[in-house]
């Protein structure tokens, strides 16, 4: 992969850049603007793309930094207080899914990640969803790898708490049902 290859690769990367931009910005118009600006910046700086760097993670890095700059420009300090707009991003029932429980689980997983604070959500999207290594995620977010690990741990504990609590609730409900039946 060389800088000269980037223009030919961008159209193929576009769907994943679009999904990533939607998930971090939570707004279609923002995502469209974000992807467009990120692609322009990438083409302008394609000479900075190193041969040993994944073009996808490099593009994620530009999308993310562009978004952070945009947030700063808007003086938005905490996007986590925003309500998630379920009207445009939703996990729908998969007609091909044989098991409805799987579908419910998918929705719950997506919801749990979406409700994380911004910094933790970005790490989860990159590592758990996009499959980047810790090192790549650190490069994308321009933070030390220790910060990635720390954010990931906190994110996973927060997500785990939702599922653990749900399991506990089920156990308690089942126990209560047993008590009532007996």
């Amino acid at each position: 992969m060389s800088a000269a290859d980037l223009p030919s690769m961008l159209p193929d990367l576009l769907p994943r850049l679009w999904a990533f931009a939607l998930r971090i910005s939570r707004d279609q118009h923002d995502a469209e603007d974000l992807v467009q600006r990120a692609c322009l910046r990438a083409l302008e700086r394609s000479h900075q793309l190193k041969p040993d760097t994944s073009p996808l993670s490099w593009m994620f890095s530009i999308v993310h930094s562009t978004w952070i700059n945009e947030l700063r420009a808007r003086n938005v300090r905490n996007r986590t207080s925003m309500e998630w707009d379920d009207s445009f991003l939703e996990t729908v029932a998969d007609p091909a899914a044989r098991n409805p429980e799987t579908d419910v689980m998918n929705r719950q997983v997506v919801s749990a990640v979406e409700q994380l604070p911004e910094a933790q959500r970005a790490v989860m999207l990159l590592v758990a969803v996009e499959g980047l290594s810790y090192h790549e995620a650190a490069e994308v977010l321009d933070v030390p790898i220790g910060t990635v690990m720390s954010r990931l741990s906190r994110a996973r504990q927060a997500v785990g708490a939702r599922f653990l609590t749900r399991e506990d609730r089920k156990v308690k409900t089942a126990a209560k049902s047993k008590d009532a039946a007996s």
Partner: protein, 287 residues
């Protein structure tokens, strides 16, 4: 071995050697807090990729696809490309800088009178005779490579590219300082707000490894961005000249070993008149 987040995640993800696992388990026996973290991390072992693969997202907008394809074509087909370096995208600013004394290169006469800013708003064909003659002369010579590259570059900018960008005056001031100090280009940022052009950002670019400055404005009342580009050009002065490069209107001139190009799609703005006034000097400066 200290038990930290990294180790606990590796433990629940079965990424430790048997010896390491044994060591962690010994530590867990004595720490209720660590055991609690492990329980939470175990509960977080979920099918994330599968879940997000089923998330319904809006498709990539056709408009976005077209814009990206247009950008890709422009960069792929143009060997004379421009590269960016130096200051990045603007970040927020708390205030507006006080206009300063203009350097000699761009002492633009932005005053009311025969060439007041109001006169720049196009009410009809705005080119003056001297512009037309210069234009014919320039077109016969062909545009300079850097002007053509700058015009191609500017074609990538739409109103949407800049509409949400708040000008970062502090960053812009720093970039202008770098341009003067490191690039050796005597540049100032003209304040064109009185004619409805809002300053958006200044960028340090390179063309053929030579510094090139791009100052971008956005018309407040709508329309496409307008850019003033400046580079070093060790050639004799020439008067302003107008030409079209693809879809872009371009007005160029050269003064004091510096080449200038005013570039835009002139919907409502007379670039010829604006270029003439910029080349004649005077006016307010942001930096």
């Amino acid at each position: 071995m200290n038990i930290d987040d990294t180790l606990l995640m590796a433990y629940v993800d079965n990424a430790l050697s048997p010896d390491e696992r044994q060591c962690v388990e010994k530590k867990l026996d004595g720490s209720a807090e660590a055991a609690s973290h492990v329980a939470l991390l175990r509960a977080s072992r979920l099918p994330y990729q599968q879940a997000f693969a089923h998330q319904k997202l809006p498709p990539v907008p056709e408009n976005l696809k077209r814009k990206i394809e247009q950008m890709v074509r422009a960069f792929a087909s143009n060997d004379e490309t421009i590269e960016q370096y130096g200051g990045g995208i603007a970040v927020p600013m708390q205030g507006r800088c006080t206009p300063r004394v203009a350097p000699a290169w761009l002492a633009v006469a932005f005053v009311a009178g025969a060439f007041g800013w109001a006169g720049l708003l196009r009410l009809g064909p705005g080119a003056t005779p001297d512009i037309m003659s210069a234009s014919a002369s320039l077109e016969s010579q062909g545009a300079s490579p850097w002007v053509r590259a700058a015009a191609n570059y500017q074609q990538l900018y739409t109103r949407d590219t800049l509409a949400h960008l708040d000008p970062d005056l502090r960053l812009s001031e720093r970039i202008v300082d770098e341009i003067r100090r490191d690039d050796g280009i005597a540049v100032s940022i003209p304040d064109l707000s009185s004619i409805g052009l809002e300053f958006k950002r200044v960028q340090r670019l390179r063309f053929h490894d030579k510094p090139l400055v791009q100052i971008v404005y956005l018309p407040k009342s709508g329309g496409s961005p307008v850019a003033l580009c400046v580079t070093k050009e060790a050639k004799p002065d020439h008067a302003i000249a107008a030409q079209d490069i693809d879809d872009m209107d371009v007005v160029t001139w050269r003064q004091a070993q510096q080449g200038y190009a005013l570039i835009g799609k002139t919907d409502g703005m007379d670039l010829n008149m604006l270029g003439k006034q910029l080349s004649e000097g005077g006016g307010e400066q942001l930096y």
